[in-house]
Each structure stands twice: as C-alpha cells, then as structure tokens.
C-alpha cells in the first residue's frame, strides 16, 4: 500500500499542546484564554481534515519521529480508521469548547485555566492515539490521557470527587499496567509493535495459551472502553463537570479505549488468529453481556448523567461487538457506531448539562414538564434518545442495521436477540424521560428559561448532525469501507 510522509499527523498532535501552553500563559485573561482554546480546536480540525483526500484515495500518511527506545520509535500512521476517530474527536472539541465557555462561566466554576489546559492536553493525546502507528506510541498517549483527565474528574475537589478520582486512577492506571505488560510481551515475541492489517501475532510460534493470556491482558488493558467487569470507573467519573463527561467520557477517553481494543483485535491479533482461537466469539459474548446488563443498570439510575453513563457503557460494547464479529458488515457497523454514538451521546450530555445550568436539576424524577421551559434542549434530547434506540433516519439506525446484518451473517442468533433486546431497553430508559418532560405537569411553577446560547447552539448542531448522518451516511461510510477493505484485503 502506498504511503506518503507528511508532518500533518505530528502537527495535529502538536497544535493542541501549543494551545495548552498558550492557555496556561494567558490564564489571567479568560477571553484570550478561550480564544486560544477555540483557535487550537479549529486549527486542529483543519489539519486533521486536510488529510481526508489523501486517505480517501487509498494512501497512508506516515511520520516517523525519533526512537524513544532503540527500535521503538514515536511514529504516526494515518489510516482510514484512525482518521475517522481523529476527525470525530477534533471536530467535537470545537463544539465542546463553545459549550464549556457557556457552562463554566454561567456556573462560575473555579480553576478554569486548569480545566481548559487539561482539556487541550487530553485532546492532544486522543489524536495521538488515533494516529499512532505502533503500540508503543499508542501507550505513551494512552497514559498521558489518563493523567491529564484526572484533574478534570476531580474538578470540584469535594471529598466525593477525590474518592471518584481515586477510583478512576485505580482502574485506568491498573489497566495501563496490563497494557504495558501486553505490549512488552508482544514486543518480546514478535520483535515489533507495529499495527499491521493482517495482525502481527500469527506465525511467530507463540504458544496458544500465551496468545489467549495476551488477549485477556490486552483487553483488561483497554479498560478505558468500559466493558464489564471493568466499567465502574465511568459512572463514578460523572462527578466531573458536564463538558468533561460529554467530550471525554462519551467520546475521547472511552472511544480511545474502544479504538485501542479494535486496533488490538484487528491489527495486532488479526482476523485469522481471532477466529481460529475462538477469542472473537468469546469477546462478542462478553460485550453482549455488557450491553444487556449495563442497560438494566441504566434503568435504575435517577441521576441523568449516571443513566447516560450506563447507556454509554452499553453502547460502547456495540462497537466492540461489531468488530468482534469479524465480518465486513460487523466491522463497518462497529466503526460507524464510533461516529454515530459520539454525536448522539454528546448531544444527550450537552442537554444534561443545559438542564443543570438552567434549572439546577440533575435528577430525572425532577424533570417533569421541563420541555415547556426548555423546548429546544428537550427536542435535541429527543433526537439523541431516538438515535440511541436506533430509530430510522437517525444516525443510530445505520450502525445498528449493519450490526444486525453481521449477527445474521455469522448465524449467532443470541447476538441478534441481544441487539433487539437492547433496543427495547433503550426505549425503556429514555422514553419515560421524554414523555414526562413533555406531558407531565411539574409540581410547582417553573421559572427558568433555556440555557445560554453558548450551550444551546452546540447542542442543537450536534443533534442536527446526528440526523444528517442518518439521512446521508455516504461520506463516513466511504471512509469506513476503505478501512474494511484494507483489513479484508490484507488477510
């Protein structure tokens, strides 16, 4: 496959690091500081987007920097899959920045410089993960992502937040250690950590037991993807300010986990090894379990953000499920769901944040009749919820369609049932919120209005985009199909 060398991937990572520096320097003047945040976000998206034509023409973009350890360089390679994730993260950062400005200022949050600084670092590492050419580079950014999001999780600094922060670290640092172990082991056995379209495990004479052990440690290592039983850090992390939950804990961090799991399944182990050892099917059932159980947990949550968090856990497992089915349709569905879930879930979180800012309400049971006061927000929320349930003309339908096809293709009827049951569960935990908000009378007169425009506009836009994707999915599908072709052609 043709590769060209370009500085673009490096620049895309660098621009938000520079942005972070500028944010720190201009910390005393909030308008300039947020100006830098926005500037970095737009520039970053511009750089990432500039790579679309090259990747769409079937080429790879490579950038080899220096060797950190002998034979283990920092290296970027942009393929269709990485570009997809990079585009999503950097595009949504622009919206989230606008939204954060509204959110943080209205609530008069403290330590805003720290907030925007850590946010920029986290985005840098998310893009770094997206463009990593090998596990080693990926691990570096993975760890930076963990560290840089910690101050965001404990932002309010109450004892509960500190406790949640400890849990966050316990899970993510431990998983980092497992990932490190797996990377060293892969390097030990194969002499490389590069991602390759056919995987690198096959043909190295690694004992079968070892392959299975490695897969398990790798999957524990990608606990950022929050599948069960490594999920419980995510609901705890909901104590963070809502923009953090929206972008990081619905898109950047958790998707980084899913992204890594996908890279490991398809690009390290490879389709052949995964299907021969039966690991793929085992993984599919683990995540299928997660899909159902997390949805059940979501039903019991009264705190809106926590319900959304459990919904995220369930939806992330859709992605891994698709990938683990190993068919073109499954992989397409999984990868598309990274995109679709990002837009839908960020909309829902934005709405949850708007409720908090405008009315101070976090609990679902207090939201009766809220649609009268905040009609636009509630409409956006409805769009997001419909998408989650996979209703046609929303983005969620596209990915669910592919997943259903794949489950039929590999004739795993239980997985098909899981997907259908999950749709029902989605309806069960989202629709009461919507119905109560629109039709129930509040207990007393409500006096608040919509959230500030800084917040309202981004959430309406993301809702709009998630419908647009549902109607016209051709462009992202083209990108995903290149990724799939590479994989299938490479084996």
């Amino acid at each position: 496959m043709e590769t060209i060398t370009s500085f673009s991937p490096g620049l895309a990572v660098l621009v938000s690091l520079l942005g972070a520096l500028m944010i720190l320097i201009s910390g005393r003047r909030p308008n300039i500081r947020e100006g830098f945040s926005l500037l970095a976000g737009i520039t970053k998206f511009g750089i990432v987007a500039s790579m679309i034509p090259v990747v769409m023409s079937g080429k790879l973009i490579e950038l080899r920097l220096w060797d950190v350890l002998p034979g283990l360089p920092i290296m970027f390679r942009v393929d269709a899959f990485g570009l997809l994730f990079g585009l999503i993260a950097s595009f949504l950062w622009i919206f989230t920045t606008l939204y954060s400005i509204g959110y943080m200022r209205t609530l008069k949050e403290h330590a805003q410089t720290r907030f925007f600084f850590c946010f920029a670092i986290a985005l840098s590492s998310a893009i770094g993960i997206a463009f990593s050419a090998n596990l080693f580079t990926l691990f570096i950014f993975f760890e930076i992502l963990t560290i840089s999001t910690y101050p965001l999780v404990v932002h309010i600094e109450t004892p509960e937040a500190m406790k949640a922060g400890r849990k966050y670290l316990l899970y993510l640092l431990t998983s980092g250690v497992f990932l490190l172990f797996s990377i060293i082991a892969v390097y030990h056995y194969t002499g490389t950590t590069d991602f390759a379209f056919g995987g690198i495990i096959a043909g190295n004479g690694i004992p079968a037991n070892m392959v299975i052990l490695l897969f398990v440690t790798f999957m524990i290592g990608s606990a950022k993807a929050a599948f069960m039983p490594f999920h419980s850090w995510l609901p705890s992390a909901m104590i963070a300010p809502t923009p953090v939950s929206a972008l990081l804990h619905a898109v950047a961090v958790v998707k980084a986990g899913v992204f890594v799991a996908t890279r490991i399944i398809l690009y390290i182990f490879g389709i052949d090894v995964m299907s021969e050892t039966g690991l793929a099917l085992a993984m599919a059932y683990v995540v299928a379990f997660t899909i159902i159980v997390a949805s059940l947990f979501a039903l019991t949550q009264d705190n809106l953000k926590k319900r959304l968090a459990y919904s995220t856990i369930s939806q992330l497992s859709y992605i891994i499920l698709g990938v683990a089915m190993l068919t073109p349709a499954g992989i397409t569905g999984g990868m598309m769901h990274i995109l679709n879930h990002a837009f839908m879930k960020i909309t829902l979180f934005f709405c949850a944040g708007a409720f908090i800012v405008a009315s101070g309400k976090e609990k679902i049971s207090e939201m009766n009749g809220i649609a009268k006061q905040m009609p636009f927000t509630m409409i956006a929320f409805t769009v997001g919820a419909l998408g989650m349930a996979g209703t046609p003309i929303t983005a969620g339908f596209i990915s669910k369609w592919y997943l259903l096809i794949a489950s039929v293709e590999i004739s795993q009827i239980p997985l098909l049932l899981v997907l259908l049951a999950s749709t029902l569960l989605n309806v069960a935990y989202f629709f009461p919120i919507i119905i109560n908000a629109f039709f129930k009378k509040p207990e007393r007169e409500l006096s608040y209005k919509e959230a500030p425009l800084f917040m309202l506009v981004p959430l309406l836009l993301t809702a709009l985009i998630s419908i647009i994707i549902g109607i016209m999915p051709d462009e992202p599908l083209a990108l995903v199909s290149i990724a799939v072709q590479n994989l299938i052609g490479g084996t």
């Binding site: 950190v68 350890l69 403290h110 930076i144 600094e157 500190m162 250690v177 172990f181």
Partner: protein, 490 residues
C-alpha cells in the same frame, strides 16, 4: 598531553579542592560554597570528557606514578565507569549549587566543615568508580563513607543518632568488604582488577573464594541498602540536611551498586556468579522483596523525606533486580535505572528541601495549597513522581520497560509482576501528595506565590527537565550502556 592525565586529575582536583576549602573559608566563609561548586563543576567536565574519550577511543588505563599494573595502582575507565562518573559528578555539581541556600538555613555557620566534607565525599565516590584496583576501591569507599557520616551528623539533634547507626552498619559493611578483598589477595597475590579476573578462574573450585564473594556481596549490599540490610537508610536520609539527602540519594547507593557490578561481572566472571554459584539469583529475590517492601513501607510514611527514603529502598531493588537477572536487556535496564533513579530521586529530595526551606513543612498532609504557593517547584515534583510511577515519556518509564522486558526474557514472570505491581504502589504514595498539593483548596482562600530562591529552583528545574529529556531520548543512554553490557555478558 594533559588529557592523558584526566583520570588522575579527577581525583587530584578533588583532594586539592578539599584541602583548600578551609583556607578559602578563613578568608570569607561565603566563598566555600562557590568553591565547592567550582571544584565539582571541574570534576563534572572531566567526567564528560572521559565518557567522550571512552566512546571515541575505547577503554582508558592510567598508571599511577607510571607504575605498571599489577604492581602499581591502575585507574581503568570503560563505558560503565564513565557513565556512572558522569552521573555522580553531575549530581554533585548541581546539588552544590542548590546547597548554598538550603544548607545556609539548615546548618548555619558551618560552611567550612560542610563544604570540605562535601568535596571529600564527591571525590571519594568518583574514586570508587574510576579505580581499577580493589584495595583502592576499599580506601575510597572508606573516605566517602566517613565524609557521609559526618555530613549526616550535621543535620541536628536526631541526625547524630541516625549517623551513629549508619556508622555502625557502614563499618560492619566495610569490614566485610575488606575481609573479602583480603581473601582475594591471599589467594591470588594481586589487587588489580584486570589481573584478578585472569587469575581467579584458576581457583574457582575453592571454597575460600565462595567466602570472599559472600563477604563482598554482603558488605556491598549494606552499602547499597539492599533490603533487608537497608535499616540505616531511612533515618539517615530523613535527618540529614536536605541538600545532603539529595546528594546521597542520587549518588551514594548507586556507587555501591556500581562496585557490585564491577566486582561480580568483571573481576569475577559472569558465568561463575550466575551458574556455578547462584549469587545473582539470590540477589534478584532479595531485590524483588525489597521492591515491594520498600513501596509498602513508603505508603505508611507521612514525613516526606522518610517516604522518599523508603521509596529509594524500593528503587534500589529495581536496579539490583536488573543486574541480577543478568541478561542483556535486564542489565541494560538496571544500569539505565541508575541514571533514572539519580535524576528522579535527587530532584524529589531537592523539592522536599525547598518546601522545608520556605515553609518548614515535612508532613505530607500539611502541604495543602502548595501547588499555588510554589508552582514551579511542585511542577518539578510532579514530573519526578510521574517518572517514579513509570508514566511515559519519562526516564523512569524507559528503565521500567527494559526491566520488565528483561524479566520476561529471563522467563521470570514473578519479577514482571513485581515490577508492574510496584508501579501501582508507587502511584499510591505519590498520588496522595498530589491530592494534597493541588486539590481541595478553592480560590476563596488567597494563597500568595512564594517560590524557592533561584539558586534552588534552577537545579530543581534542570533535574525535572532531564527526567523528561532522558525519557524522550532514552535510546541514547541505552545504546551507550548496551555496548558495555554486550561486551561483558556471554
């Protein structure tokens, strides 16, 4: 050519400098500290030159007074020496800049003995590293130890007791080493390392050699504070003046490890200590226990310096583990960790000294709001601590990667688990400091910025920057170390 005499200049300059310190001090006490900085800077430059020469032109051998070895004393410099020399001299140099204010506050008015001993200690350590003669090694070991006892004792009331404890342990250690060297001498009739390595294979079967090895290993284990012979270290590091803690943590135990590597792998052959007598595998088990025990004990501490001291016990375990596993990769990781640990721990001790200098606080639970008060100092602390945990891209990550990989290469899964588990334990004891330093204080409480003085801050920031740079460009030291390791290990 003067460059031919670099090995001896390194030592001569030191003793000359120490000798003149009191004279300079008589003129003006304040000049002692710049004088020590000047001398250690010269030593650092010479060390760098030596490393450069060794890399460019191969091993150096310097005959004292022109006496040919094995009759005369030889200073032999190969890559390992030169590498450790640069670390030791560099730490001595940077800490001397830092020490002026810190010691000025903690040990007021004693510049003359302080800096005389400082230079003696630094020179003694460099001597241990550069010499190619086992008895000469012992002499330098005693010189540096005596200087260290005295420096620790200057720290105040409690430090006298700590120093006394250390002296007892240190003397036992020195006696063991001397006895071991004595046996070697009796058996072979030579003290020169190169000569010993030729003659020793002839007596590999004899029990007396085993006794000699046992004595030397135990002696050096006390010096390096290998668990469970570490008991002198926490008290000594806690009660010594902060600058001295920083200096000792960065260099002193490393020099002991250097001596261990030198004696085990070049004087005695690797195959003997690995296969014939399982010295190395015994050391690895002690090291592994030490790694965990040190971390767990560190979690139990609330005095910041004592916590760092126990953390040292754990980190020394890493180095010995790498050396003891004795394959190319683990050994490279172990020697790299000498560098990593020097950079991280010296920096961290310096930060704790800076906090004490500004506020007098030693208890980690009283550090609230310190992140606002001393932002740069605490920033350096974060870098050092992340490196201790092994977060990339710091130098601690690089050495941990190699150590874990080496353990895997050796097929010792237990040690892989120990190494990785210990990073989590390290995270536990550093993270509670982060929590206290950065969180839980809202802007309503006004905290004034009150940074450490520049002469303390600059060395601290240099160390933090080095931790970072050496992590990003870790392949450079690794390539250097590899050359030596491949030459030594079969």
């Amino acid at each position: 050519m003067i460059t031919d005499h670099l090995p001896i200049l390194l030592i001569i300059i030191g003793f000359f400098g120490a000798f003149f310190t009191p004279i300079i001090g008589m003129i003006r006490k304040k000049l002692c500290s710049p004088w020590a900085t000047f001398i250690t800077m010269l030593q650092f430059l010479i060390s760098l030159l030596l490393l450069y020469n060794v890399l460019a032109a191969g091993n150096l051998s310097y005959w004292l007074g022109g006496w040919q070895p094995p009759w005369g004393i030889e200073y032999a410099v190969d890559i390992l020496n030169a590498f450790v020399l640069v670390i030791v001299a560099g730490v001595c140099f940077l800490v001397s800049i830092y020490s002026r204010k810190s010691l000025g506050l903690e040990v007021p008015g004693k510049e003359i003995p302080l800096y005389t001993l400082y230079i003696v200690l630094s020179t003694g350590m460099l001597g241990i590293v550069i010499t190619g003669d086992v008895f000469n090694l012992y002499v330098f070991l005693e010189i540096s130890s005596l200087a260290a006892y005295a420096l620790i004792a200057l720290g105040g009331r409690q430090s006298a007791m700590a120093s006394f404890n250390y002296m007892i342990m240190g003397t036992i250690s020195a006696s063991f080493i001397l006895l071991g060297i004595g046996y070697l001498y009796v058996m072979t009739g030579t003290l020169n390392m190169a000569d010993l390595s030729i003659l020793l294979p002839g007596i590999y079967g004899r029990p007396v050699l085993l006794v000699a090895i046992a004595l030397i290993v135990v002696g050096l284990s006390i010096k390096t504070a290998l668990y469970p012979l570490h008991t002198w270290l926490p008290d000594a590091y806690t009660h010594a003046p902060s600058a001295i803690s920083a200096l000792l943590a960065g260099t002193f135990t490393k020099v002991g490890i250097y001596a261990l590597i030198r004696v085990m792998f070049t004087v005695i052959s690797p195959s003997y200590v690995i296969e014939t007598v399982p010295v190395m595998s015994m050391l690895t088990w002690l090291a592994a226990i030490g790694i965990l025990a040190g971390s767990i004990l560190a979690i139990a501490q609330y005095d910041i310096k004592r916590m760092l001291a126990y953390s040292s016990v754990s980190q020394i375990g890493y180095i010995i583990l790498g050396v003891g596993l004795a394959n190319n990769i683990a050994m490279t990781g172990g020697i790299l960790h000498i560098l990593s640990h020097s950079l991280m721990k010296t920096g961290l001790f310096m930060v704790s000294g800076a906090i004490i200098y500004r506020t007098g606080i030693k208890n980690i639970y009283q550090l609230k709001g310190m992140g606002k008060k001393m932002p740069y100092t605490m920033g350096a602390f974060v870098v050092g601590a992340l490196s201790m945990i092994g977060i990339p891209p710091t130098v601690g990550f690089a050495s941990k990667f190699y150590l874990a990989w080496g353990a895997l290469e050796a097929g010792k899964w237990v040690f892989v688990i120990v190494i990785l588990l210990s990073s989590l334990l390290t995270a536990v004891y550093f993270w509670r400091i982060f929590e206290n330093v950065y969180f839980g204080v809202h802007e309503t409480e006004e905290i004034k910025k009150d940074e450490a003085p520049l002469s303390m801050l600059i060395p601290i920031v240099i160390f933090a920057a080095l931790v970072f740079l050496a992590g990003i460009f870790a392949s450079i030291p690794i390539e250097v170390i590899k050359i030596w390791v491949i030459g030594v290990l079969p």
